[in-house]
């Protein structure tokens, strides 16, 4: 005698292997999209944080004009600190455009002042421009708001697109599971009918399918998440190997939040699979007497 009873719903290896692969692939893509979405949103926030309160003033004129402008900026309301950038710092800023081979010493560089404003908006670019204009100084004040908002909008759109991808992949997964449950239900109608006529309640019969698809979803989701982790780690490795910046593209990192996305993916896949199976089975059973 066998020590344990065989499951009432037999395993269907071929069908379930195909379904496992599909759910795994969907979970991989969904988890990767989730990582990209999170990365895009956090990059947008990071950029916004970096430039918030940072003001750059470009002074047209000689060093004396720059010194005067610096004094005015330092004493302007809402300014926490201000300093004139050294030529070396200006050269560093131009390096991505002019190359690392060195900038000619006689090349005139703009006189730049970097200021930090206190939160609250007392020191806006309009106010600082007005102060400098009143002192007859020709300067352009940029608080980076327009640029940072554009960049933030772009990265948020990228994040939204990734979230939509997650949603679509999730919906596809649900449809696939529902279809597979229905196919299993049709293939195993003999078991379902027998259990029904033996007095099994709908919940009991649905439970057989729910458990089956919960396990399938969790296992396939775990493998998909693991592959997504591997893919993300590989991309990070490649970027770091090349020591490159991906400028406007969101940069992947494997943080706690990413771990949470990867960890939750199998659970979400399992629960979604279970619910899809339950709804499909209950709907089919309602057609029976």
């Amino acid at each position: 005698m066998k020590p344990s009873l065989a499951p009432l719903l037999p395993k269907e290896d071929a069908r379930e292997a195909a379904l496992f692969f599909v759910v795994c692939a969907l979970c991989f893509l969904a988890a990767l999209s989730g990582l990209v979405a999170r990365s895009a949103y956090s990059a947008a926030d990071a950029w916004a944080d970096q430039v918030t309160g940072q003001i750059t003033i470009r002074v047209r004129g000689d060093d004396a004009a720059t010194t005067r402008a610096l004094q005015l900026i330092k004493t302007a309301p809402g300014i926490v600190s201000a300093r004139a950038l050294e030529r070396k710092e200006s050269e560093e800023l131009l390096r991505p455009w002019l190359g690392a081979s060195g900038i000619p010493a006689d090349l005139p560089l703009p006189h730049l002042i970097a200021a930090e404003a206190a939160p609250g908006g007392a020191a806006s670019d309009e106010r600082l421009s007005a102060i400098l204009k009143a002192a007859s100084l020709d300067a352009i004040v940029d608080d980076h708001v327009v640029w940072s908002q554009d960049v933030k909008r772009a990265t948020e759109l990228a994040g939204l697109a990734a979230l939509i991808a997650v949603g679509l992949l999730g919906a596809t997964g649900l449809a696939v599971i529902a279809f597979a449950t229905h196919a299993t239900l049709l293939a195993r109608r003999d078991i379902v009918e027998l259990l029904h006529l033996t007095g099994a309640k709908d919940g009991f019969i649905a439970g057989l399918f729910e458990r089956r698809f919960l396990m399938l979803g969790v296992q396939a989701g775990a493998l998909g998440a693991l592959l997504a982790f591997g893919a993300a780690a590989f991309m990070l490795f490649l970027v770091k190997q090349a020591d490159q910046q991906i400028w406007l593209l969101p940069q992947l990192s494997l943080s706690l939040a990413d771990g949470l996305i990867l960890g939750v993916s199998p659970l979400v896949a399992g629960i979604a699979s279970m619910l899809a199976a339950k709804v499909t089975v209950m709907r089919s059973l309602s057609d029976m007497v």
Binding site: E193, L194, T198, K201, D202, M288
Partner: protein, 242 residues
């Protein structure tokens, strides 16, 4: 008998002017009425296509009639929701014509299936199921899958499965259709024992008039949409050549 709203005179099955049709086609059953008393053993006979199996399906609550009323154990099933039919089904053991054994389960597991549906733990029924399989002569085939069983063995597993929960009513559709005469006699003895020992009501649909005669019990004959009760004495009388 377990909890029941049934009084001693109330029939286990009561069909009142039952009609059944699938779509606009001719009625499968029309205006059929019958009653079975608790503890009775009854055969249902009739020509092929008369609707015996359909009548049984109505009795084991696999179908709802399109006209008339089906009462089981004193409960009018037409007033019950799907959910409320499940407890009634648990009081009925069905031996299906085509066995309906699950191929991936052993004989033991097939017999234990209704107990699993009831949520019982295997420890509580293991010995009972083994005893039951011994009673039907399959004590040495506990682990056998249906594919390795003969027709008679499958039939006995199906019977064991039908009686394992000690139902109030057993419905069997052509239980001797796939077995030889000797096995048919054994199966008949099983049904009789169940009927007498446990006071289980038994309804058997069959073409096997020889078995019906041996049983010496009342017969319901279904033909042309009518059910006629034939007394045991008339059934037992030897046939006269035409």
């Amino acid at each position: 008998m377990r909890e029941s709203s049934l009084t001693s005179d109330e029939p286990v099955i009561r069909l009142d002017r039952i009609g059944l049709s699938y779509g606009p086609e001719a009625d499968v059953l029309a205006d059929v009425s019958l009653q079975l008393k608790a503890g009775s053993m009854t055969f249902l006979t009739g020509p092929s296509g008369a609707g015996k199996s359909t009548l049984l399906r109505l009795a084991y609550l696999a179908l709802r009639p399109t006209a008339g009323r089906v009462s089981m154990f004193g409960v009018d099933t037409s007033r019950l929701s799907r959910k409320d039919l499940a407890p009634l089904r648990r009081r009925i053991g069905v031996v299906f014509q085509e066995f309906r054994l699950l191929d991936h389960l052993s004989a033991y597991e097939n017999v234990a299936l209704p107990l699993r549906v009831l949520g019982q733990h295997e420890k509580t029924y293991r010995n009972d199921v083994i005893e039951l399989l011994k009673w039907v002569g399959l004590g040495d085939r506990l682990d056998a899958r249906p594919a390795t069983l003969s027709g008679g063995e499958k039939q006995r597993v199906a019977i064991a499965r039908a009686v394992v929960v000690k139902p109030d009513l057993i419905i069997a559709d052509e239980p001797t259709g796939n077995v030889d005469e000797e096995m048919g006699d054994r199966l008949l003895r099983l049904f009789r024992e169940l009927n007498r020992r446990l006071n289980t009501t038994v309804l058997i649909a069959t073409h096997d008039l020889a078995m019906v005669r041996k049983a010496r019990t009342d017969v319901l004959r279904l033909a042309d949409g009518m059910v006629v009760r034939v007394p045991a004495q008339q059934v037992a009388a030897p046939e006269t050549p035409a």
